[in-house]
């Protein structure tokens, strides 16, 4: 069997780990693993196609999203947040899991309607990309905690990159570089925002923000 589809299946599983994570530490670990898997998919594609862009892209993902961003997040967490604290959903965890399953099904159905122009990756990978995108967006909307909402956004971004890999594997490296660096900037900005929020309301729980303060 192709290693890409196996890696992609793991990629999807790790995204579910991100959905059920109760602790920030677990969520960051899941994001890191997800980024490594995405880089692995790009590198496995390089082995098949010998496109140098793919190798560079894979290495870029691994170094930035697999090493730099998780390290940044961990350091931020150590300074500002209690990483061991449990966080919850606006819905229950089992409901979140089932909604996640429904969303991934929706992703697969959506992918089956899109004709895949490249035949480098099997169609299942496109479905997995869309599913992860939806799962990430779902996490962003349904989580209470700001840090985990950011985690959802980052996961959605990873799904988007997988979709990009399927639809346009020969994208110019410059664009990819800009994309990935943007995420790094976004993480920095968002972590400053979260630190600021914690100073103001003593928590990163966004449901606290609905209270009026005089």
């Amino acid at each position: 069997m192709l290693p890409e589809i196996t890696l992609a299946a793991l990629f999807l599983l790790v995204s579910f780990q991100l959905i059920v994570a109760r602790r920030l530490r677990t969520a960051v670990g899941a994001y890191q693993l997800q980024s490594w898997l995405l880089g692995g998919i790009a590198i496995a594609l390089f082995v098949h196609t010998h496109l140098t862009e793919l190798l560079l892209f894979g290495l870029l993902i691994v170094s930035l999203k697999g090493v730099a961003i998780p390290t940044l997040l961990r350091r931020r967490m150590r300074v500002a947040l209690s990483a061991g604290r449990e966080s919850s959903y606006h819905v229950g965890f089992p409901t979140a899991l089932l909604l996640g399953a429904a969303l991934s099904l929706a992703g697969f159905i959506a992918a089956s309607r899109i004709p895949s122009p490249s035949h480098l990756l099997p169609g299942a990978d496109l479905g997995i990309g869309i599913a992860v995108l939806l799962l990430g967006l779902f996490t962003t909307t349904a989580r209470r905690d700001g840090v985990l909402q950011m985690g959802g956004l980052l996961a959605a971004e990873n799904g988007l990159l997988l979709i990009g890999l399927v639809l346009a594997p020969r994208l110019s490296l410059l664009i990819e570089f800009a994309l990935v660096l943007d995420v790094l900037i976004a993480v920095v900005v968002m972590s400053f925002l979260l630190a600021r929020m914690r100073e103001e309301v003593f928590s990163t729980d966004t449901s606290e923000l609905t209270r009026l303060r005089g």
């Binding site: 793991l10 599983l13 965890f93 089992p94 697969f108």
Partner: protein, 343 residues
Amino acid sequence: MAPDHEDRKAFRELGDGASLDRVHLGCHVLADAVGQVVALLVVLALAPLLKGVIETGKARLQSRRGPSPLQPYRDLRKLFGKDRSTTPDASFIFRVAPYVVFATPIAFAVLIPVLTAAPLSWAFMADMVGSGFVIGIGGFFTNLAAMDSGSVYGGLGASRSRFVSSLAEPTFIVVFFAVGFISGGTVPFVVNQTLFTSSAAITPSHALIAAAFLMVVLAETGRLPIDNPNSAQELSMIESSRLFEYAGSDQALMEWGGAMKLFVVLVVWLNVLVFPPGLAGAVTVPAFAVAIATLVGKMLAAAFLIVVIESALAKIRIMRVPEYLGGSFVLAFLGLVLSTLGR
């Protein structure tokens, strides 16, 4: 669901050529019966050993000496030597339940590939869903008997075990759908042949389904993330609190039946979903010797896996059980989805 004639025909063709003369057929039937009986004896004899090996392994991993792997046999002998006692409130269900619990794993073992890769004569009595019902009867009667005994803990255990089983059921059904989808049949022997021969390597959907099935097997047989089999605290028990009112030979039958249930369900996991090689192709003495030896090897590996899982994980809170089983459902569901895409 009635077993298919198509499946049966397929296997006549898969088998060692159609030898249609009567004498040969007669030999075939006899050999089938012998093979069936040997498989049942293997289940009866090895099930307590599996339980013993798991206990010893867990003790060793915790740096204890632990009981000998043969301890369950000694327990059974001791229990069979004792008198039965029944609560005065109990009805006939309480007295019948041990026999049902003892008999259902044996009936189940007829339907699954314990030792042979090709189906024996009784294998087409039920498919995977049907055999799920068969194994479910045992749990149903245990629950009835636990409530019948009038003990508080029995009722508590029965209610909790229904809670767990009702959440495990969707996963079982999705797993059956998925393997049925991949292999085009739901008789365990067909499934095992197709999964075994169609692709040499492990596909993601196959791995997901196997993982989901193991998760529900652990939940259904009262193993650790859900229920601690070694617990001595009545309030936290699920499985063992249902057996509280039994004594003597009744208790022996209940415990033996429970051990066999774990054994046969693990046989399904091993021989149908994970690693079918080693099964006997025909009913001959050397083939069966090899099959029994590989089954013991596979069971040791499974026991080791269970020991590691049970030592690594703590029991989860009862209200988090839906998350665990919901997770297994999602795994099975993704396996199903990926299997439809992968073709």
